[in-house]
């Protein structure tokens, strides 16, 4: 926000630079080139966008209609069989897929509420002016700049049943060892806890930007009317945060639904395949076992679920507005 005005404050130097350019002679080829200019500006990006975004979005669907083994030359067309087999009783792929969808759903259901509420509380504290505010903000955000691979190996160590730091602490308090990595429900506590630790700062930062957009004068007016803290929170802060809440809710749900690295590195899907998420199963099926047709079909099905969820979120917030 504050980066912009600083840089705008020096237009003098810029004027000098371009004043040196001579006035152009309006030649016809130059004109034609000018008409092409927007497309030339776009060309490099559009090339990448077409090859790696537009084409794959459709090509993926094409793959899902085939029995597509990456290693086999023959990739017969099978219509919607890769989809219908997911709904067929007794199909192993179908069983594994829905088990992984259940794991994803469980993770979303546990992690999203925590990732909506805790960062909001942190943001409310950080929104006040007090010495050291930016230092605390920087500390809470820090884990987010680390990748999921570091978070994964670190938490697998911290939560190790025998030599992990957490069980050592609990042992000092006289609490028995807990199998954080292999027992339901502890393994969910581990995955959710690691994720909250990792991304709390991210959501807090987004909330904080939203809080700063709510005018001081609104609070002052409410105080004149005798509003207490709770009134102000409920009638000014929450409505003022509405657009930010929609954004945070949506991206948190989508991020949690895309969970992969934590399960792969922390719980490794254990116990059994109970914490193997949909993304983890789809990736294994498609790029581990090379049954890419199946995997592509699953990814489109997952997308349908995510679209439905996002629409539900928007509907919820719209209803709330009325």
């Amino acid at each position: 926000m504050s980066t912009q005005p600083e840089q705008l404050a020096e237009p003098g130097t810029l004027r000098q630079q371009h004043q040196r350019e001579p006035a152009p002679v309006a030649a016809a080829p130059g004109r034609r080139l000018e008409a092409l200019t927007p497309y030339l500006f776009l060309a490099p990006y559009l090339l990448l966008f077409t090859v790696f975004v537009l084409v794959p979005a459709i090509y993926g669907f094409w793959i899902s209609l085939h029995s597509w083994d990456f290693l086999l030359p023959a990739k017969p067309f099978v219509g919607f069989q890769n989809y219908t087999s997911l709904f067929t009783e007794g199909s192993l792929t179908g069983f594994n897929f829905w088990q992984s969808m259940r794991a994803t759903w469980t993770f979303v259901a546990y992690s999203v509420p925590l990732l909506l509420v805790i960062p909001l509380l942190v943001a409310l504290v950080l929104n006040r002016s007090f010495p050291g505010r930016t230092v605390f903000r920087a500390i809470y955000f820090a884990p987010y700049v680390l990748g999921v691979a570091v978070i994964g190996i670190l938490f697998r160590f911290l939560l190790d049943t025998n030599i992990g730091l957490l069980n050592s602490f609990l042992g000092a308090l006289g609490i028995d060892r807990i199998a954080w990595l292999s027992e339901i429900p502890w393994v969910w506590v581990s995955l959710v806890g690691a994720t909250v630790w990792w991304t709390l700062g991210f959501n807090a930062i987004i909330y904080l930007a939203g809080l700063q957009d709510i005018g001081r004068d609104q609070y002052e007016a409410a105080e004149v009317d005798g509003a207490n803290a709770w009134n102000k929170f409920w009638h000014i802060t929450i409505p003022g945060l509405r657009p930010v809440l929609v954004l945070v809710t949506t991206i948190t749900i989508l991020a949690s639904a895309n969970m992969f690295g934590q399960s792969l590195l922390i719980s490794q899907g254990a116990p059994g395949n109970a914490t193997r998420t949909a993304i983890m199963y789809i990736a294994e099926e498609g790029l581990g076992s090379f049954r890419m047709g199946n995997a592509a079909a699953m990814s489109y099905l997952l997308m349908l679920f995510l679209i439905a969820t996002s629409l539900a979120v928007f509907a919820f917030f719209r209803r709330w507005e009325d």
Binding site: Q4, L8, L14, Q17, H18, A23, E34, P38, Y39, F41, L42, P44, Y45, L48, F49, V53, P56, A57, Y59, G60, L121, V125, R128, S129, A138, A142, V145, L146, G147, V148, V150, I153, L154, F155, I163, S168, T199, G201, I205, I206, A209, R216, Y219, E223, A229, W230, K232, A255, A257, N258, G261, L264, I279, I282, L287, G288, A295, A296, S299, M303
Partner: protein, 299 residues
């Protein structure tokens, strides 16, 4: 709730509170708030310190159940293990690969997205609205959709098991264009008009007026693209295979597989993967936090 009440106490209207008793209460609350803030900071910092500390212990020392934050004696076996020539887990090689990939990717993103974003923000051409709508819409497609088809495309290009697979396809994402278009749209039009009156061509206006004005936004995007690429996990796990071709994130996964409970070695890998991004964060914290809060991206 108590938090909110505190806020009114530091707000400009605080002189409205005449009772001296409120002052003592306020100090008490301030102390409580700091205690909570510091406790939370410990929760965030301690695991990172533990990672560093463990990486400097012998495997035996790391297995003891006593909690020694400062190792009794500094032991560099873990680092020697992963830097030994001929190892299957050449962490420094992965570091180099990650550095090359993330740097090249970040530069590519900025160079390719900036002109495109400028065209979408300022230039007039047929189909502009539709094109921008299509680009934006792809931001909402879950990344898993692209995994199978892009694996196939990258394999046809001969990029499997090469850093090209990490540098180029991810640069096609809509985020950079979206981020920069927002910024360019917010710049005052007058400067470009002045340049045009002075006879500058569109490209010259872009290079000499817009780019210098946009340095903060361009560097923020550069940083975010670097961080995203450095941390990218799912894609490199599947497109890179050879031990000497990996980047750090899939490498750490291999390290975990190879050393299972030899945690000093695994933590040493974690330390090496964390140092560059944490250093970058310390120096460019404001850019990173502001960039993230302005755009709301999530890894």
């Amino acid at each position: 709730m108590s938090v909110r009440r505190d806020q009114t106490a530091v707000a400009p209207s605080q002189h409205a509170d005449p009772q001296p008793a409120g002052g003592g209460k306020r100090v008490g609350k301030a102390v409580l708030t700091y205690v909570l803030l510091i406790a939370l900071s410990v929760i965030f910092i301690a695991p990172l310190l533990w990672m560093l500390s463990t990486s400097l212990k012998s495997q035996q020392a790391a297995t003891q159940s006593t909690i020694n934050v400062i190792p009794e004696e500094v032991n560099t076996t873990a680092y020697e293990t992963i830097t030994r020539p001929g190892t299957d887990t050449p962490v420094m090689r992965w570091f180099l690969n990650s550095m090359v990939a993330a740097t090249a990717h970040a530069v590519l993103v900025v160079v390719v997205c900036a002109p495109a974003a400028y065209a979408l923000a300022r230039l007039e051409f047929k189909g502009k609205r539709l094109l921008y709508a299509v680009i934006l819409a792809t931001l909402f497609i879950p990344p898993i959709i692209f995994l199978m088809p892009n694996f196939d495309i990258v394999s046809r290009l001969g990029w499997l098991d090469t850093l090209f697979a990490l540098i180029i396809p991810p640069a096609a994402g809509a985020f950079g264009v979206f981020f920069l278009r927002q910024f360019f749209s917010g710049l005052p039009v007058e400067l470009e008009e002045a340049a045009r009156v002075d006879g500058a061509k569109t490209w010259q206006t872009f290079m000499r007026v817009i780019v210098p004005l946009s340095k903060p936004a361009l560097s923020t995007l550069l940083l975010l693209a670097f961080l995203t690429n450095w941390n990218d996990f799912l894609w490199p796990v599947y497109v890179l295979f050879s031990p000497e071709r990996l980047t750090l994130p899939p490498g750490l996964s291999r390290l975990q597989g190879a050393y299972t409970i030899n945690y000093p070695v695994i933590m040493a890998g974690g330390v090496i993967a964390s140092i560059p991004v944490l250093a970058l964060y310390v120096f460019a914290q404001r850019y990173i936090i502001e960039g993230v809060s302005r755009s709301g991206i999530k890894g």
